[in-house]
């Protein structure tokens, strides 16, 4: 589980060293406040939420939170470099690097961790609808980017096909 926590912290802050620092501080806090963990809660959901909450807490104390949330493209790209396979998907990485941290984490939780939207919402302390909306917007934008297409105009909505809770 620890590599998964580290990946979460890395993707959040956009750099390996900073991710390690955030994770260490968040772990210290978790240890100090372990009583807040409720038995029955999935450990990973709890831990991801704690890391995210700690990052928000630290960000709130900064003079310019928006500037602090920006990432270095080179350091962010280094997260994805694999020595063995040489796999490096530059367009996807550049796209991810251009997203706000919360949107990157939404993608990580749902497509990287395979979380249900409800669990992703719990980690990021937002509604399930927010997660769904983010996924739609980001997925469509990425698909457009990868196909060299201009972002599509809003399409007509077939209301009858909407599942409960997915209606805008």
């Amino acid at each position: 589980m620890l590599p998964r926590l580290k990946r979460f912290a890395d993707v959040l802050v956009g750099a390996r060293d900073e991710g390690m620092g955030l994770l260490s501080r968040a772990l210290e806090r978790m240890l100090a406040e372990q009583h807040r963990y409720q038995r029955g809660t999935a450990l990973d959901v709890w831990a991801f939420g704690e890391i995210y909450g700690h990052w928000l807490h630290e960000l709130g104390g900064r003079a310019d939170p928006l500037a602090q949330a920006k990432i270095d493209d080179v350091l962010f790209g280094a997260l994805f470099q694999s020595e063995d396979e040489g796999y490096f998907d530059a367009p996807v990485i550049a796209f991810l690097g251009g997203l706000p941290p919360q949107q990157r984490l939404t993608l990580l939780l749902v497509y990287g961790e395979g979380f249900e939207h409800e669990d992703a919402a719990r980690v990021l302390d937002v509604s399930t609808d927010t997660i769904t909306t983010r996924l739609v917007r980001i997925s469509a934008a990425l698909a457009d980017r990868l196909n060299n297409r201009q972002p599509a105009p809003a399409a007509a909505i077939v209301e009858s096909l909407y599942p409960e809770g997915l209606s805008p």
Binding site: P3, L27, E85
Partner: protein, 277 residues
């Protein structure tokens, strides 16, 4: 061309639609190449996202393996890890190790893995194997029926005033005991069985720690851990947590026995020495 929104198509690609809605979308896709291409583009985008995140995780796992290889030699289960395996709040032990700067512990990520990669039976078995030592087999089965002899043997092996509680009053009968190991240090396991359910085990090894009874849980196994008089204890079993805590309290309140000494075999000299005391 039928127009379906990206919102609906993403929900379809992510498997968020009900079966009836999925069939309806598929029917439309069968007849509309443009929408089908859009769905393929969304699937392709998601697949590349998954691959990218997988690459980050591979890097982190490689880092953990490298750190663990230097931190741990051989396949020995640390007491902390063994304890973690039985402790409900196992995360705390993992976090403590990480924060303390001992490197990323090799076994903990698997112990704590929740969904994607469950440890296989081989891995779990090797962990159990690592707890066995020569002493595990050298405490003969014929001695197991002799409660006092087992207590004597275990206390001597442990080299400390080991509590060897009689839990008949709690509904658990002593069945057998053996000596496992943590590295080169002995780890005593005393097994009891109630009228139903799995075994109750009291583990003990030399060591310091909090005297407070600390409840925990690992899967279906409830645990209580504490330390006293230079011995660290762990009571573990598929037992209701309140009963386990009462039993642990009962053990803790029991005074620790002095380290037993073996009675010397009868010889005229020993007999004379005993009589002169």
């Amino acid at each position: 061309m039928t127009e379906l929104s990206d919102e609906l198509l993403v929900a379809y690609v992510d498997g968020q639609l009900a079966r009836k809605q999925t069939r309806a979308v598929e029917k439309v896709l069968d007849q509309d190449d443009i929408l089908a291409a859009r769905v393929e583009a969304l699937k392709h985008a998601h697949a590349r996202l998954e691959a990218a995140f997988e690459a980050v995780l591979a890097g982190e796992e490689a880092e953990v393996s490298a750190a663990s290889a230097t931190a741990q030699e051989g396949l020995v289960i640390p007491w902390g890890v063994a304890r973690t395996a039985f402790a409900g709040l196992g995360l705390v032990a993992a976090l403590a190790l990480a924060v303390a700067g001992y490197g990323w512990p090799l076994s903990l990520p698997n112990l704590l893995q929740t969904a994607p990669k469950a440890a296989g039976w081989q891995e779990e078995t090797v962990r159990a194997q690592a707890l066995l030592s020569r002493d595990s087999l050298e405490v003969g089965l014929e001695s197991q029926a002799n409660y006092d002899l087992v207590a004597f043997q275990l206390a001597h092996i442990l080299g400390a005033g080991l509590k060897f509680p009689n839990l008949d009053a709690q509904g658990f009968r002593f069945k057998r005991a053996q000596v496992l190991r943590y590295g080169d240090a002995p780890l005593v396991q005393i097994l009891y069985l109630g009228s139903k359910g799995g075994p109750l085990a009291l583990y003990a090894k030399r060591g310091e720690g909090s005297e407070t009874l600390m409840p925990g849980r690992y899967g279906a196994i409830n645990t209580v851990a504490w330390a006293e008089d230079g011995v660290s204890y762990l009571l573990a079993g598929d037992v209701e947590d309140a009963l386990l805590m009462r039993t642990a309290t009962r053990i803790k309140l029991e005074p620790a026995p002095p380290l037993p000494t073996a009675s010397k075999p009868y010889t005229p000299v020993n007999d004379a020495l005993n009589q002169s005391r």
